[in-house]
């Protein structure tokens, strides 16, 4: 009934606004605000704005949607497994309650196991992949990037953009980030079971690891004290680093700029600038660390084309002391 009212008022509203274009001042009729307020009040009385999930529409075919989901991503899923991957625990509980009331019993499987399989696979694969494409980056940093990529927000965003939002079977709509992320993990689990490890690995590579494209990977690993880390690393190689002030501009002004160069054996390894000498020194240390880790601003883009599951050679990596 509310909608009918709104529809009736829309032409009036349009007319009211069209009249305004000829006059100077913006005038909205005195009845508009009270009417809209009244409509809002009635809507709230009914229990707020109603959200109609896409799968309650007349034009909805779950089987076709599931088929198209696989085709869209160029993957072949086992149809039962895929349906299971889209079934959230909350939906199963709700269905069981319904069935109890109606006195019959059809067993349904939720995606809990698939989520676990998928989660462990995603974690292990991303770890291997990052170790391979960032051979000089310390393990702590790799772990931080991995944590970012497997975080709920990132996986939920990926899941949403693969079109799971409408297909997921859940008790409540719209589904939250937790269910979206879980569904993505379950899909990887289902793919692992239906097409094997390589296909699943390429799936994770194409949709999760590519999220690093265009990002500065140093930002995922906050380094508290870059100077201490740099001196610690160089001490292992028997080198000492010497900071020198190599430029200053606008001293004692608001726009002061200092430039510090770091030298090892009288050879410059990096420079940094900042509003004070301490900041400039820290920035120089950060630059030097980026050079050591192979993650400079002008680094080669990360390779998103590695085939199969890469095996990281457990080479000598920079082990960063916890301090």
């Amino acid at each position: 009934m509310n909608m009918a009212l709104v529809r009736r008022f829309v032409p009036f509203l349009a007319k009211a606004i069209r009249i305004q274009q000829t006059t100077q001042a913006q005038k909205i009729h005195r009845w508009v605000a009270p009417t809209l307020m009244e409509l809002k009040r009635r809507e709230d009385k009914q229990g707020g704005k109603k959200f109609y999930p896409r799968n309650t529409f007349l034009e909805w075919n779950l089987e076709a949607e599931l088929y198209a989901f696989g085709q869209r991503l160029n993957e072949e899923f086992d149809s039962d497994l895929l349906l299971q991957a889209f079934t959230d625990r909350s939906y199963v509980i709700k269905e069981e309650m319904k069935q109890k009331e109606m006195d019959f019993d059809i067993k349904m499987k939720d995606n809990k196991e698939l989520v676990e399989i998928g989660e462990s696979f995603i974690g292990a694969y991303i770890q291997n992949y990052l170790e391979t494409v960032l051979p000089k980056f310390p393990m702590d940093g790799v772990k931080c990037i991995k944590n970012h990529l497997t975080s709920e927000a990132v996986l939920a965003n990926i899941s949403l953009h693969l079109g799971t939002k409408d297909i997921i079977l859940a008790a409540e709509y719209p589904v939250d980030n937790f269910i979206l992320a879980n569904t993505f993990k379950a899909i990887v689990g289902a793919l692992l079971d239906s097409s094997g490890e390589d296909r699943a690995a390429h799936f994770v590579r194409d949709f999760v690891i590519t999220q690093l494209q265009g990002q500065d990977i140093n930002e995922y690993w906050p380094i508290e004290d870059p100077w201490a880390m740099l001196t610690g690393l160089l001490k292992k190689d028997g080198a000492t680093v010497e900071p020198r002030l190599i430029g200053e501009a606008g001293k004692n002004t608001l726009l002061a700029c200092y430039r510090v160069g770091l030298y090892v054996d009288k050879k410059i390894i990096s420079t940094g600038f900042g509003e004070s000498i301490a900041v400039a020194k820290e920035m120089a240390a950060r630059e030097a660390l980026k050079k050591i880790f192979g993650t400079e601003d002008h680094m080669k883009p990360i390779n998103f084309q590695l085939d199969g599951i890469p095996k990281p050679s457990s080479q000598s990596r920079y082990q960063i002391p916890a301090s």
Binding site: L160, H161, D206, G214, D297, H298, F304
Partner: protein, 186 residues
């Protein structure tokens, strides 16, 4: 930019979910054709459905196609995209060819681009590989081993030539020509 565009949502040219870096995913996820089986406004839509729709569905298995016949209402295409956008398009009195072209537009775009005002025609997450500018960025390397003050670097050559200097040069030039004339006259 006209005043009308001010009310559009601003945005950048972006591929959703780094589409194409890994693999390409068609962003159109489902399309609903609503039409009437008898009225003339749906003629083009009915032709499209009879002649082209099956081929469309075959070529694009990732797009779910729904047909929704309804009596005495004008034809409509509703396209839904992976990013959640929904594009409603009236096809009243559109011909078969027009509908074919519009469906192609729906299939190839990445979302409902109707209500977006592009702020720029390009975008990057990574504006510079050189880092920000500092007063030392384009410093002349020769300055590194120069003893200051130095006449080469200290010379004031930034001002345009003065009027006195200009007159002096003109005078010198004139003298030169006069000398020539005297020489040729002899």
């Amino acid at each position: 930019m006209s005043a009308k565009n001010m009310f559009l949502k601003p945005g950048f040219v972006r591929a959703p979910l780094q589409n194409g870096v890994g693999r390409y995913v068609c962003q159109l996820q489902r399309i609903v054709f609503k039409f009437c089986k008898s009225s003339g406004g749906s003629r083009g839509m009915r032709d499209y459905i009879e002649q082209d729709l099956v081929d469309f569905a075959k070529v694009n298995p990732g797009v779910v196609v729904y047909l929704k016949p309804r009596r005495h209402r004008s034809p409509v295409v509703v396209a839904e995209y992976l990013n959640g956008d929904r594009l409603w398009m009236s096809c009243h009195n559109k011909t078969h060819e027009e509908i074919t072209k519009w469906i192609e537009v729906c299939r190839t775009q990445q979302g409902n681009n109707e209500d977006i005002r592009l702020r720029k025609y390009q975008y990057t997450d990574y504006p510079s590989v050189q880092g920000p500018w500092t007063p030392f960025t384009f410093k002349d390397p020769e300055l590194n081993n120069t003893v200051l003050p130095n006449t080469k670097f200290g010379v004031n050559n930034r001002l345009p030539i003065s009027a006195t200097e200009q007159l002096r040069l003109m005078f010198e030039k004139q003298k030169l020509y006069e000398g020539d004339e005297i020489k040729t006259a002899e």
